[in-house]
Structures are given as structure tokens and as C-alpha cells.
Amino acid sequence: MEHNTHRHPRRFPVVGLRRFLIGLAAGALFASLNPASANEIAVAPDVGLGQLPRLGSEWQAANPYRGTAAAAEAQTLGRAAYNGACARCHGADASTNAAPAPDLRNLDRSCRRIADAELKAWCQRDNDAYFIKSVRQGKVILGITHMPPWEGVLKQELAWAIQVFIESRLSGTR
């Protein structure tokens, strides 16, 4: 009996500490997997605006760079901004459908199918409104932040540049 009382005080703390650490690790893993605590934080990408026409503080309703002389630079800057801000969830270079978040190349898929030019432009304006609203307000569904609001973090110029870049990544499919 006396022998046991000498052994136990030494072994219990070691086993207890090990269990505590395993429990701590498991808890941290669970917390990282739990959607309720998986809230993403918006961090501004380290990308300048280059020579992009400045848009001021009021948000545009439609993409001001698409089809203009600034589109090429918007695409370049948009790619850098995308990979700095969006790629973490939507996939690098907007070139994968295997990322956890939706494949953004499909956003204007329905508009691309429209043959009538006027209708197509209208559809694109609606799509632009949806895109910029999603960027500004994020995706908060039933209290869960699936995508953080980017307003106040991402400059408007870069938000539209990102859309120009995404649209440049389309495959040949309609």
C-alpha cells in the first residue's frame, strides 16, 4: 500500500497533463472546424491602384472598367488583388472549381448566353449590382459570416478590377 501511494502522485500529473494537452488540441481543432467560429476577416491586399481612373467614394452601379482602355491594367491589378484577398477561399487565379467557396467564373454565365446586345448589357448591369453588393456587404447567412464585408477594407477601384480579372478567366464554355 505504501508503495502505491508513492507511485501514484508521480504518475497522475503526467497522465493528466497529457490528457489536458490532447484535449486542448482537440478543442482547438474542433473550434477551427466549427462554422460558427470560422468567420473570415477581411484584410486589404497590398496592391496599389496604378493608373486606374479613380472612382471617388460613391460606389458605382456597374463596372466602370469593362471594355474601356483601362481594362488591361484593371485585369493585371485585379489579378494581384484577387490573389491577395479572394484566392484563399475562391481558389488561386480564379481557375478552380474545387475551392471551398463558389467558382466566381460562373457569376455572369447566364448573361453570356444572351444573344440580344441590349438584354445582355442589362443582365450584366444586374450582375454587376449583385457582385458589388456581395463584395461590400459580404455573405452573412443566418448570423454566420461566410464572407466578410469588404466595404471600408477594399478600395472600390480594386473591387471592380477583380471582377474584370475574373471575367478574363472564363473558359470556352458558355
Partner: protein, 186 residues
């Protein structure tokens, strides 16, 4: 060779049909995904099978509209009037119907995962066999609604009113019933 000819003929016809089928425009509302149709008058409109995913239909007038089998995933129908609308088999995951009026609406077999019906009026609506897993019905009015065989897994029914609902084979599992009137208690 004959098979190839028949296939290519069919394929060309399909492509031609797809190119000719331009989307609808009803009362200033383009019927396509992400449509911006706040407050649009779409009463009695035939929108069966249409893709309105992500559309902004907040405050839209959709009384008796036919939305059977339509795609309303992520659409915003906050404050919309869907009185007696036909929403059978509609796909509306993560759609929001906050404060919407769905009196007598038919949502049979609707897929409503994570949809938000907070403060909506679903009086006498038919939700037979609808799947509303993870949906919110906070403060919603479901008086006299048909909930037969509908699935409510992990649903928030806080302050909802389920008085007079028909609940044959309805599944309630892991639900929030705080302040709910006539919610199942067992």
C-alpha cells in the same frame, strides 16, 4: 455513321433552340440570375423553372405567381407578397423571406435549407414534404399551415405561431421552441 448524323442533327437543333430562347422580361424585370427587381409587379407571372438565383425580389408583388421548380437559391424576397403563389419544388436554399407574405402559398416539396422566414406570414401555406433544415422561422406565423411530412431539422422556431398546423409525420429534430406557440414539446 447514321447514328452520328442523327446525333449531330439533334445537337444542332438543341444549340439553335438555346440561342433563340432569350430570357423573359416582365414589367421591367429581367428573368435571369441576380436580377435586380425590387418591388417589381410579377403577379400571376409564369416563372416556372426559371433561374432567379441571387435575385433581388425584395418587396416584389408575386401574388399567384407560378414559381414551380424555379431556382431561388440565395434570392432576396424580403417583404415580398407571395400570396397564393405556387412554389412547389422550388429550390430556395439560403433565400430570405423576412417579413414576406406567403398566405396560402404552395411550397410542397420545396427545398428551403437555411432559408430565413423570420416574421413571415405563412398562414394556411402548404409545406407538405418541404425540407427546411437549418431554416429560421423566428416570429413567423404558420397558423393552419400544412406541415405534413415536412422536415425541420435544427430549425429556429423562436416566437413562431404553429397554431392549427397539420403535422402528420412531420419531423421536428433539434429545434428552438423558445416562445413558440403550439410547437411540439416532446
Amino acid at each position: 455513321m447514321r447514328l452520328f448524323f442523327i446525333f449531330s442533327l439533334f445537337f444542332r437543333l438543341t444549340v439553335a433552340y438555346a440561342q433563340d430562347a432569350e430570357p423573359l422580361v416582365i414589367n421591367g424585370c429581367g428573368i435571369w440570375p441576380h436580377a435586380q427587381c425590387r418591388g417589381a409587379d410579377l403577379r400571376h407571372a409564369n416563372l416556372a423553372g426559371k433561374n432567379l438565383a441571387g435575385a433581388d425580389l425584395s418587396g416584389a408583388r408575386l401574388a399567384r405567381a407560378d414559381l414551380r421548380g424555379a431556382n431561388l437559391a440565395g434570392a432576396n424576397l424580403d417583404g415580398a407578397d407571395l400570396t397564393a403563389a405556387r412554389l412547389n419544388k422550388v429550390a430556395a436554399p439560403t433565400a430570405t423571406f423576412r417579413g414576406a407574405r406567403l398566405v396560402g402559398a404552395d411550397l410542397e416539396f420545396a427545398r428551403l435549407f437555411r432559408a430565413d422566414f423570420s416574421q413571415a406570414d405563412l398562414t394556411a401555406a402548404n409545406l407538405e414534404a418541404a425540407k427546411a433544415n437549418f431554416a429560421w422561422f423566428v416570429g413567423a406565423r404558420l397558423v393552419n399551415a400544412n406541415l405534413q411530412e415536412s422536415k425541420f431539422f435544427t430549425v429556429n422556431l423562436q416566437n413562431a405561431d404553429l397554431t392549427g398546423t397539420y403535422r402528420r409525420f412531420t419531423v421536428f429534430e433539434d429545434i428552438n421552441t423558445n416562445g413558440c406557440v403550439a410547437c411540439p414539446q416532446d
